[in-house]
Symmetry: C2
Subunit: 457 residues, 2 copies
């Protein structure tokens, strides 16, 4: 056992208060050992003037879209997708995805994010970057069938399910191997699900959305996810254009249709949920299905404001995500904390809605629960996934309320150290696992070449 003491600062308790005390971590097992007065450790990380918080969980993103950051902004959603994003994505190579994900990893570690959920292409590359960067992630190959030939569609479904199967325990040849049959056949709820300590990469089946994947393909995804004992993650009710066709075709609200297809399992979760009616909110609560709130993306694309306080009030597990950098335009979850609190008040027409502690909970334990990791709380026994936020700055002075500062005034650049699975991924603003300069250079080159291919190809 090699211990690490995060020393001389404050830490955020599960009750969302900042208490003076150290956090002791086992760097080998990746576990939090103790909090409070700690005398001794093998290594010490200075947290003077800081508040140690659970690492933030980016519960919905498309990491490699960092390569498209600032490409084609200020366009209506349909034009943006059809004329800009999709043509570029059609040119993406696995090397592009690797570099874009590395860039995303640099950005996430720098801004205190320790776990993320990724839906994109070339996911084996993403898994390799996650392993190397030291982050934790739930990964899925995005599956799309609408608009494709039968052969292409079948290949897409097969690719998505194969990835979910082969990488579900960390890597193609993972140390832990497939789960035994008994576990696989059990229907465990999210909270009962076994702890994930040690395996930093997990997988899900990720049919892209209710309108871009056909009925049969959805059925295949659901069957595979249940068989593999992995969650299902998909986009739903993001825009009116994702609601109306389903109402027209099936005569039901989108989440009633999702329920019929078996997509509302108690470990499944959807992204966005902007346009939900009360019946759909109740249905989510009843089924135990989670929602990832992506306030910045929903605002930048003019999609609308999700009824996020209503979801929490109904008992739905809510996480927070950045969505891809192209509709954000960064992966700094501190922006989303602020956005979730503020837009939550605006949509509720009530300045007391989405209070700071509720938002911070969603971005930590809420997201961790959705992704299936035992992270998101600073307490002995949990994963040592932590961000050390430096309050020694004018914009975080005075301190009437630490949680308020974390939500409304802090930004990613205030994170001094980032720890995941007990390992220090950033120390005093220096990354320890990734070569940031080389990644930035390659990302700039690849992004330029990618856009050129798309525009001239």
């Amino acid at each position: 056992m090699t211990t690490l003491r995060i020393a001389d600062g404050q830490y955020l308790t599960p009750e969302m208060t900042a208490e003076t005390g150290d956090v002791l971590v086992d760097q080998e097992s990746g576990e939090i050992l103790a909090v409070g007065d700690i005398d001794d450790a093998d290594e010490t990380l200075d947290a003077t003037g800081c508040v140690v918080i659970p690492g933030l969980v980016n519960a919905h993103t498309h990491a490699a879209m960092t390569l498209l950051r600032g490409y084609a902004d200020d366009e209506p959603l349909e034009t943006w997708l059809r004329e800009h994003v999709w043509p570029v994505e059609a040119e993406l190579t696995s090397e592009d995805v690797r570099t874009g994900t590395e860039l995303a990893a640099c950005e996430m570690i720098r801004s205190g994010t320790t776990a993320f959920c990724d839906m994109y292409f070339h996911e084996p590359e993403v898994a390799a970057v996650v392993e190397r960067a030291g982050l934790r992630a739930l990964l899925g190959q995005g599956i799309v069938t609408v608009g494709k030939s039968d052969e292409e569609a079948a290949a897409d479904v097969e690719r998505g399910i194969r990835f979910a199967r082969e990488y579900r325990d960390g890597s193609e040849n993972g140390e832990t191997g497939p789960r035994d049959a008994e576990n696989e056949s059990e229907s465990e709820s999210r909270s009962e699900h076994e702890s994930s300590r040690g395996d930093r990469v997990r997988t899900a089946c990720m049919p892209h959305s209710l309108t871009t994947v056909g009925d049969d393909a959805i059925d295949e995804c659901v069957a595979a996810a249940r068989d593999l004992d992995v969650p299902i993650h998909y986009h739903a009710n993001e825009t009116h254009a994702e609601v109306e066709p389903i109402v027209d075709e099936h005569g039901t609200r989108p989440l009633e249709y999702a329920d019929e297809r078996g997509l509302l399992g108690d470990r499944d979760f959807l992204a966005h949920g902007v346009h939900l009616d009360d019946g759909e909110i109740d249905l989510l609560a009843e089924r135990g299905t989670g929602v990832v709130h992506c306030p910045a993306s929903n605002t930048k694309l003019a999609s609308g404001m999700a009824p996020i306080q209503d979801l929490l009030d109904a008992g739905v597990t809510v996480g927070i995500g950045t969505d891809g950098a192209a509709s954000n335009n960064d992966l700094d979850l501190f922006d989303e904390l602020r956005d979730a609190a503020m837009l939550g008040k605006l949509v509720a027409e009530d300045a007391s809605a989405m209070a700071a502690p509720r938002v911070l909970e969603a971005a930590t334990r809420g997201g961790a629960e959705l992704l299936g990791f035992d992270s998101g709380l600073i307490e002995p026994g949990g994963n040592a996934d932590l961000a050390v936020v430096d309050f020694s700055a004018p914009h975080l002075t005075p301190v009437h309320d630490s949680v308020s500062h974390l939500v409304y005034a802090a930004r990613g650049s205030d994170v001094r150290h980032t720890i995941c699975d007990g390992k220090v991924l950033m120390r005093n603003r220096e990354l320890t696992t990734l070569n940031e300069e080389a990644i930035r250079t390659e990302a700039e080159e690849r992004a330029t070449a990618l856009v050129e291919r798309a525009e001239n190809g």
Copy 2:
């Protein structure tokens, strides 16, 4: 003449494009001398990997409210004001205002803001801080008469007008002295108004709002502002509670009432303008009256979303403000750039609304125009008020579009150097005019004591 060359980076042109080239500044006159290829200068400031932009203009704030940052969040507006903010403000001393404004100045310089408009109490203290910090500001003592005795109300009006008169040329014993009578009697439009180079502090008459200042007091303010040749700045149409009482009492929309009272001059400008009807937007455009958009404050207090693209389309001059830190909770205008672009799309239900260049214009030349300073553009002859933004970071990689990055992805902590009036106020993230550590310590002490007085008083 002592020249300063901001070297080896890019600079933002008035056409909102980033061009490679240096910016040459006269540190004595505070003027931009040249842009492009510059060979020689007395001093050099490195801008490698950076984009030099006009210093941001915070066109509406209450700077000393930094002392209340994070105090009483997540409260409905009326409770927040009546039970928390006003009782604390009643205890504010001039030393509190000095310290709170110093803290605000640290924060603004650190995040690339070079000019601000302040409406608060003890404004002579604010003027002194602005002089010392090296910033530029339009200042006004907030005037409130409703709910006060006749004597108190008269004293408030008198104090506001006296400050506007005595400090309008920089300080009580300003070098430039009062303007001559000929100038004072002229009715100059904003654009025709004489250049302000050299005088960093200017004043305005600032009746607090249309509902907190009585008719007679408003009339006195208007007469004094015209006599002193200073603008009028006030809150209007922020919430429904600022609209309905006027409709009920006067039978007109608030801005029709403001027009009757003479408050819609072509150098005057109001803060917020959330709830405006089409007639009011036309009236603002017709009169040449400006609007300061405060998107974060309007969202956090659940006030609503201002029709900001409509105002620009109508030809209204728009600036951007943070409002006080208590409803924000910081003074980093980069947050407001992002908020203005994003919420502008949401309220317009159009992702192409409030495109990044329009937002950046509002926060630079728009705000400078409202405050009456010849700043906000990088071109020879203008004020050398500049922020040097460092793009060498993962969250600003790759660079498809610099203006997009400035609006959607950059944050105050990306500013490497800040220059105002030709002087370097921050060099490599180190403040040159203010002792940040001492200010932070005093702010923490004073904020604690202030709240204790208010809560136990």
